[in-house]
């Protein structure tokens, strides 16, 4: 009687073992990441971003050294970690991409059309200027605390708008961000899904983007990730640096506040 129970129990455990290892998928990728150590193919993109910052470009043949990312003109160390934030000169809350767009237009004389023509790489591309700049700027905030602005009323309403948009069910599939990211311990196929409404999940996500996406061989930004989420939600194209893009990033960054930036990260 007892030995039969034991036999059944051990065969049950054997059956469950492969399921257990699949449930530990994240652990496997963590091991893979650990093998890289400090290495990250993003180093090359970071170098390109630095070159672009100091490169004379546009009709005005100017560099981006005069660009104010919130800590003063040309101050890049720690700037990414304090975005999104309110800017008096544009009277709006801005993320890294909309701020870079502003500087490219004002300082370099580039047009909005050319900046928005192809800000993110398409399949097979080797990287865009925006991706390289964001990679370098994120690197300048590595190890620093995520601290988006929330003192200004516009910053607080940006957070509230971001929260509204997070739960916005729409499109033929009725998806919102919360469909996938509104609870913990879930995954889509084998990809684990952070709970972005809670500090831990938001911190994991916000601190690791931009990231070198191994499957694509390029660096992707948080702005791109949100655009791609909306695509997968069967929604139209999210405009880079738009009010909604900024609001959603504000929502994430505030939920992540206090955690340490570790970008560019490394992702599948």
């Amino acid at each position: 009687m007892i030995s039969r129970c034991a036999a059944m129990l051990s065969s049950l455990l054997l059956l469950l073992a492969p399921l257990w290892s699949w449930a530990q998928q994240d652990g496997i990728f963590d091991e893979y990441r650990a093998m890289f150590g400090d290495d990250n193919p993003a180093v090359f993109v970071i170098d390109e971003g630095e070159e672009l910052w100091f490169n004379e470009a546009g009709p005005k043949s100017m560099t981006l050294e005069g660009c104010d990312l919130g800590l003063g003109a040309g101050v890049v160390e720690g700037a990414y970690a304090q975005l999104p934030r309110y800017f008096a000169d544009t009277d709006r809350v801005q993320d890294i991409e909309s701020r870079l767009e502003h500087c490219m237009i004002e300082l370099q004389g580039k047009t909005r059309e050319e900046i928005h023509a192809k800000p993110y790489s398409l399949r097979g591309d080797l990287g865009t200027e925006m991706e390289a700049l964001v990679a370098w700027l994120a690197e300048q905030s590595r190890g620093l605390a995520i601290a988006p602005g929330q003192a200004h009323p516009s910053e607080r309403s940006s957070y509230e708008l971001g929260e509204q948009l997070f739960y916005f069910r729409a499109g033929p599939h009725d998806f919102s961000c919360a469909t996938c990211h509104g609870q913990s311990g879930k995954r889509i196929r084998l990809q684990s899904l952070p709970d972005l409404t809670a500090h831990e999940g938001a911190a994991d996500a916000y601190s690791s983007w931009p990231a070198y996406r191994i499957s694509q061989g390029i660096v992707r930004t948080m702005g791109w990730r949100m655009r791609d989420c909306f695509r997968q939600q069967r929604m139209p194209e999210l405009i880079m640096g738009s009010e909604a893009a900024v609001a959603l990033q504000t929502y994430l960054a505030v939920n992540a506040a206090g955690a340490t930036m570790a970008a560019p990260g490394l992702k599948r």
Binding site: R169, D174, R234, P236, A244
Partner: protein, 199 residues
């Protein structure tokens, strides 16, 4: 009692106003892409009501109305006409494409069931957003079970308002034939979904 009703009405109106701001902001933040246009930002009554955290119950009366109207609008097949081909259903369950601006609108949409559900016990790449459907066929093929499964697939809100499962029939994501094939994938004793069941 009257004060509570007035307050509730005020809250709903304020929420509606705030929500309209969100819709306006999103619309101005998006652009048409290929065949996917800004009309998708317009929400119907169900989507508006369900644009809230899972923990928030929402107004019971509205929920009941939405559930009843969802149920009433489901076209149920005639008896004996619920099940298609499980092999085609398997393909629908595995196919995650359809209705994205990166998809080919000439191709049929998939159901992407594996994104959220476990089905075939031998398939390890399954999601956990929804409950496991492995061995679903154990429920048998009584008329009520066939109808329940069909209605759930067509419009899950007929039973569970604010579920995050898409309205595969009501929203026109899958065709009637595709849905019947998915029914077979779930209920046919020969389907791999039911391979673990004692025959």
């Amino acid at each position: 009692m009257k004060t509570i009703k007035t307050l509730t009405l005020c809250c709903l109106l304020i929420n509606a106003a705030v929500a309209d701001d969100a819709a306006l902001a999103l619309k101005s933040s998006m652009a048409d892409k290929n065949f996917v246009t800004l009309d998708r930002v317009e929400r119907d009554a169900l989507q508006t009501f369900c644009s809230k955290p899972r923990s928030e119950e929402g107004d019971t009366e509205t929920a009941n109305d939405l559930r009843e109207s969802a149920r009433a609008a489901v076209p149920v097949p005639a008896e004996g006409d619920f099940l298609g081909d499980w092999q085609r259903g398997e393909a629908v369950a595995n196919n995650g494409r359809g209705l994205q601006y990166s998809d080919n609108p000439q191709q049929p949409n998939g159901g992407n069931c594996y994104a959220c559900h476990q089905l075939d016990p031998d398939e390890v790449a399954y999601g956990t957003l929804g409950p496991s459907l492995t061995g679903y066929g154990a429920r048998g093929q009584s008329l009520s079970m066939l109808e329940y499964t069909w209605i759930k697939l067509w419009n899950t809100h007929a039973y569970n308002v604010c579920s995050h499962m898409p309205r595969f029939g009501a929203a026109g994501i899958l065709s009637e034939q595709q849905l019947k094939d998915v029914m077979a994938y779930l209920l046919d004793p020969l389907s791999p979904v039911n391979s673990g069941l004692i025959p």
